[in-house]
């Protein structure tokens, strides 16, 4: 790998395609070439692109499951301790704590905690908020949220070689193949 041409001032190579189909094929090609640290930037989720990029499924469901179980346990513990132990009320002779009358709040807190897990888990997994990312320096990157389908190959990829990456992308029909600084 010593003969790879890299440059500390280049963080990634960014280019764009006109259609989701072109981007899809380009991602498949890069994946098959053995690239790992590349990404697509699209105005909407292009379906199936994770397969073309060779990405693993998101770990988010496990985060949500953990949070949901925590919420459920919190609701049970809260109602049991507050209503049954700390300050039991006698209301119409009903037991201080009963599972049946606790179900609504158990359900609601399970949902609430799961939703917090899904929401904050997403940003944690995506490492957002992140106001700046090198790819944003591409001159027309603002169109990635409009109608262009960007691809970026990062310098940290073990196969990264400025010349080779540029040539590959150009051959795939990418436009405005640009280097961006870190």
């Amino acid at each position: 790998m010593a003969d790879r041409k890299t440059d500390p001032n280049v963080a990634a190579i960014v280019a764009w395609f006109q259609t989701p189909a072109d981007l899809y094929h380009a991602c498949e090609h890069l994946r098959d070439q053995g690239y790992r640290d590349f990404d697509a930037h699209t105005p909407f989720p292009v379906h199936g692109l994770e397969k073309a990029m060779g990405l693993k499924p998101s770990p988010l469901p496990w985060v949500v499951l953990t949070c949901g179980i925590t919420g459920m346990a919190t609701a049970v513990a809260m109602q049991w301790w507050m209503g049954g132990i700390d300050y039991p009320w006698n209301i119409s002779g009903k037991p201080p704590f009963a599972l049946q009358s606790s179900i609504p709040i158990i359900f609601e807190l399970t949902v609430l905690f799961s939703a917090f897990g899904a929401f904050f888990g997403t940003w944690a997994i995506c490492r957002l908020p992140k106001p700046f990312d090198p790819v944003m320096q591409h001159p027309t990157f603002y169109k990635a949220s409009d109608d262009r389908f960007f691809i970026s190959v990062e310098a940290k990829d073990p196969k990264f070689d400025i010349g080779k990456v540029k040539a590959t992308l150009e051959k795939l029909g990418a436009q405005e193949v640009e280097e961006v600084s870190p």
Binding site: D39, S58, F119, Y142, S145
Partner: protein, 485 residues
């Protein structure tokens, strides 16, 4: 032979290239649209010079919101008696207004969550505004129980927080379940709505021409850059939140109905309440979505995104849920008779023919008879008729809650405590005022945030399919979508 077996002679229509023709659905986005055109159509609404009409309507809405502020100030100063509540009818317009607004909110969640899980792609151009409507309706709803406690500064006693009484709330009370249900509902709806907004906020950030816009939208967009690694988690989160919101929305109105059903009052103590309340909530909520969407699409020229097909589909949902509600009304009467309980029977006969019969028949005509007109396609596709009918539906649904609350309460078990509720001026101004709050928030929303989910609309366009031939129902598209949602 053809007479005996007519289906045998039907020939399958074929295209010019002799391939089988498919029955095409009308497209979700009308006209040949590029992705950029969709971005423009939605963003222009936010970026254009403030329209005079908007300012005019906003000033009316804010004036109404000020009426709310005045009414509530008066209420806190004088006390709950201002509302015209009396002994047997202790809930009156207060809980009527609360259930009315919560119910309206439910359509937003139904569109954003349940229709998403059912893969109803037509939801994409209306879900954003409907979710916003949910949030603002919940805000309007919370005014009522919040102020009904009388001493609003003690409202935190509703939460399980340590307080000066050294005691905890009663976890066996449906009213406390309601606190948890509604606050969870409001919070989850807000998270879901904001998650959906992030990619569109990034679009607005990228189109910003002024520094102020760039800072505000840039901060809210959190540095979203459309990375597919992010989309992968994002879509999973969207699906999970939809999956959580679906039982949540059903639970919220179920628990709201428990406020009534768990009591022992004839007219309230019925097991049909949970499904009946949920159906009624969806019914009124869709009516409100149609009312608002007709105005928004017209005012901002979004007719090609919010098409007549969207409106017609919503009319069909109104027809279905309206029929469910009508069935529930009938079943309540049947059960009152079939139970053999004289108090039940009295309550229902009194409901239809007693002092509140005027409210009952207003409810029946608006909720049971009006939606049946939606069997006719001509009516489902006529915007003026639809507009009037959806307003009738919401009038009817307001009366439904009033009938359930006031007519069940005003005749107690003991004739000596019978009474009649008459709304006072403050009841009216508070109710009008909540519309002011709702409309103010909604108007601010359509001015400053994308009212249509840009990225989601692009995703259902034919040219979004990476394998497609510009064919919406292409098999591969459906298959990959089913796998990755």
């Amino acid at each position: 032979m053809s007479a005996a077996n007519p289906e045998r002679v039907v020939t399958i229509p074929r295209d010019a290239d002799n391939s089988l023709m498919t029955i095409e659905r009308p497209p979700l986005v009308l006209g040949k649209q590029s992705f950029h055109a969709v971005t423009d159509a939605v963003s222009d609404v936010v970026e254009m010079k403030t329209p005079k009409g908007w300012l005019f309507v906003l000033s009316i809405a804010m004036f109404m919101a000020l009426i709310l502020l005045g009414s509530l100030t008066d209420l806190v100063g004088v006390g709950i008696g201002e509302w015209g509540l009396n002994h047997p009818v202790g809930w009156a317009w207060d809980i009527t207004g609360f259930v009315f607004w919560i119910g309206i909110g439910h359509a937003g969640t139904l569109i954003s969550a349940i229709l998403f899980l059912f893969r109803q792609k037509w939801r994409t151009s209306i879900n954003r505004a409907a979710e916003a409507m949910t949030l603002f309706a919940v805000a309007a709803a919370l005014i009522y129980p919040g102020f009904h406690v009388g001493r609003i500064w003690f409202a935190y006693w509703m939460l399980p927080l340590p307080n000066q009484m050294q005691m905890w709330p009663n976890f066996k009370s449906p009213l406390l379940w309601d606190v948890f249900a509604v606050s969870t509902y409001g919070t989850v709806s807000l998270l879901f709505w904001f998650l959906g907004l992030v990619p569109d906020l990034a679009t607005l950030r990228d189109r910003s021409t002024t520094k102020l816009r760039k800072i505000i939208y840039g901060t809210l967009a959190m540095g979203w850059r459309g990375s597919h690694r992010h989309w992968l988690t994002y879509e999973k989160a969207y699906m999970i939140l939809a999956g959580l919101s679906t039982p949540l929305v059903l639970s919220v109105h179920t628990i709201v109905s428990f406020d009534f059903a768990v009591s022992v009052l004839p007219g309230w103590h019925t097991t049909i309440f949970p499904p009946y309340f949920v159906a009624g909530a969806v019914f009124s909520g869709f009516a409100m979505v149609i009312t608002l969407m007709i105005l928004v699409r017209k005012a901002y020229g979004l007719e090609h995104l919010i098409t007549i097909r969207h409106l017609e589909n919503m009319c069909k949902i109104i027809l279905a849920t309206g029929s469910l509600v009508g069935y529930a009304y009938g079943m309540e009467f049947f059960m009152a008779w079939y139970s053999g309980n004289i108090y039940e029977r009295f309550t229902f006969i009194n409901r239809a023919f007693g002092p509140y019969s005027w409210a009952y028949w207003t409810m029946m005509s608006c909720n049971v008879f009006t939606p049946q007109l939606f069997w006719f396609r001509r009516i489902r596709t006529s915007i003026p008729i639809m507009f009037v009918m959806t307003i009738f539906v919401n009038i009817g649904m307001w009366f439904e809650r009033f009938v359930i609350i006031a007519s069940s309460l005003h005749r107690d078990f003991l004739p000596s405590s019978w009474g009649y509720f008459r709304p006072q001026l403050v009841d009216f101004t508070t109710f009008i005022g909540t519309f002011g709050l709702f409309l103010t928030l909604f108007l601010l929303f359509i001015r400053f945030l994308p009212a249509v989910a840009i990225s989601e609309v692009k995703g259902v366009m034919p040219n979004a399919d990476p394998h497609g031939h510009g064919d919406e129902g292409h098999a591969h598209n459906e298959e990959t979508e089913a796998a990755h949602g």
